[in-house]
């Protein structure tokens, strides 16, 4: 069995680039906290995407220069952002009208687990000693038209994050359309998981080894 640490796979930047390539021009996009945020840096030239952040801004722009941040102009991760010309602020009910109402085209989320049926578990490990916190994740996966997941293919310990059934509490059921990992880009279809693309230094059999459910080519 291959050791996952021996496989270079895609970098975080390349993963983000893979996601960005699949988001059509003119899309309205919500990017989750962390790795998903990188996607904005890799939008192909000529495309214009509009970013929504659920705390009340459509037309989120890049991070401001050091020292230029406004404490009350932040993203869902509570980090300083800016607003593009043509942006709009709104309150939380209106924000989730966009989300729950199916007006956002794409949401890119990190995850702890994703199943072959497109179930996603990304808000809680179910551990007794954790403080439960859900934020907007359940609304996003229930409402946004297309849910893309971006994640390392396995946990730090080498366990698959793509599983037959999520063991962690679900965020949403049957909602994920595409999974972007450091090893492959995978589409969730009714018939199962289909590999769209693999990192250059991995074989299909190796990829299968690090994945819970059966993959299709």
């Amino acid at each position: 069995m291959v050791n996952i640490n021996q496989i270079k796979g895609w970098t975080r930047a390349e993963m983000a680039q893979n996601v960005a390539r699949d988001i059509p021009d003119g899309s309205y996009v919500n990017l989750g906290i962390g790795l998903p945020e990188l996607v904005a840096d890799f939008v192909p030239k000529g495309r214009e995407l509009i970013y929504q952040t659920e705390n009340g801004l459509l037309g989120m722009g890049p991070v401001p220069e050091e020292g230029q941040g406004d404490r009350e102009l932040v993203n869902a991760g509570k980090k300083y952002v800016t607003a593009i010309p043509g942006a709009a602020y709104f309150h939380h009910a209106d924000s989730f009208t966009m989300i729950r109402g199916g007006h956002i085209d794409v949401c890119v989320l990190g995850t702890m687990q994703v199943s072959e049926k497109g179930d996603i578990a990304n808000w809680s490990t179910g551990a007794e000693n954790a403080v439960p916190a859900v934020g907007g994740a359940m609304d996003l996966v229930a409402g946004v038209k297309r849910i893309f997941v971006i994640t390392q293919h396995t946990t730090k310990h080498g366990h698959p994050k793509i599983v037959e059934e999520c063991t962690f509490p679900l965020t949403g059921k049957g909602v994920v359309e595409r999974i972007y990992t450091n090893l492959a880009t995978i589409e969730v279809r009714n018939e199962g998981l289909f590999v769209c693309e693999m990192a250059p230094d991995i074989t299909f059999d190796e990829l299968q080894e690090f994945t819970g459910p059966k993959l299709n080519q």
Binding site: E48, L58, D94, G101
Partner: protein, 237 residues
């Protein structure tokens, strides 16, 4: 580059198919997108379900659309106005169907449709004929009726100012149903008095964020229903 501005009214409404559902903004003439409605008359799509607070007056705008027999059904709170002749006549001869909805319930149903809420409970209309046949339920000793979210294929609304992203500002009480109808339709089409560059609209003041709008048509000097009725005009003219 995102650019939702279209240059002609026919381009604005050309996807409207026979049988489509169309929300039409306005409270009386305030906010009524007359030019878009007239374009829809020229376009000719039939068998429409129209969702609108009123049913038009005289022989222009919404009344003309109805008179032209393009509307199969109207979902409406107040189809009766001072100068409404068209709707009563068709209604009495069973050539148009009416679903009468209390105004606040109509607004909330549209807002729910846009917000992904399939149904909600409201106290309005309980114990009245408009609640007949509807589910009701008691919450904390008070009775409410179950109402369903309302969506449409298209919305035609009138606003004051837009940019290429579709951000909209309205004027005074012309705002009325426009913002919620934009949220509840697949293709929201706004006619606006003025198109400006992105950034000219203060993001704090945007009423309809561009995400809810698909097409914008500039109509610099829109017509007003009451003036046309006063002038005894009839569309098509």
């Amino acid at each position: 580059m995102i650019n939702k501005i279209v240059s002609t009214s026919s381009e604005a409404i050309r996807e409207v198919r026979d049988g489509a559902s169309v929300m039409i903004g306005g409270f009386g003439e305030a906010g009524s997108p007359i030019e878009l409605i007239h374009a829809l008359i020229d376009h000719g799509a039939k068998d429409l379900t129209v969702i609108s607070n009123n049913a038009g007056s005289g022989h222009v705008g919404l009344a003309a659309l109805i008179e032209n027999l393009q509307v199969r059904k109207i979902i409406c709170s107040f189809p009766r106005t001072a100068n409404s002749k068209v709707f009563p006549e068709l209604f009495h001869s069973n050539r148009i169907e009416l679903e009468l909805v209390p105004q606040g319930t109509l607004a909330e149903r549209i807002r729910a449709g846009g917000a992904g809420i399939p149904a909600f409970y409201t106290p309005a209309s309980v114990h009245t004929p408009l609640a007949e046949g509807k589910e009701s339920r008691i919450f904390e000793d008070k009775e409410y009726v179950l109402e369903h979210g309302l969506k449409a294929d298209f919305a035609l609304v009138k606003a004051q100012t837009a940019d290429r992203y579709g951000n909209l500002l309205y004027h005074a009480t012309a705002r009325n149903f426009g913002p919620i109808m934009c949220t509840a339709s697949n293709v929201a089409i706004a006619q606006v008095n003025e198109v400006v560059e992105p950034g000219m609209i203060d993001p704090e003041t945007v009423i309809t964020p561009g995400i809810f709008v698909q097409k914008v048509l500039e109509v610099k000097e829109p017509l007003f229903e009451s003036q046309l009725v006063e002038d005894n005009l009839q569309y098509p003219w």
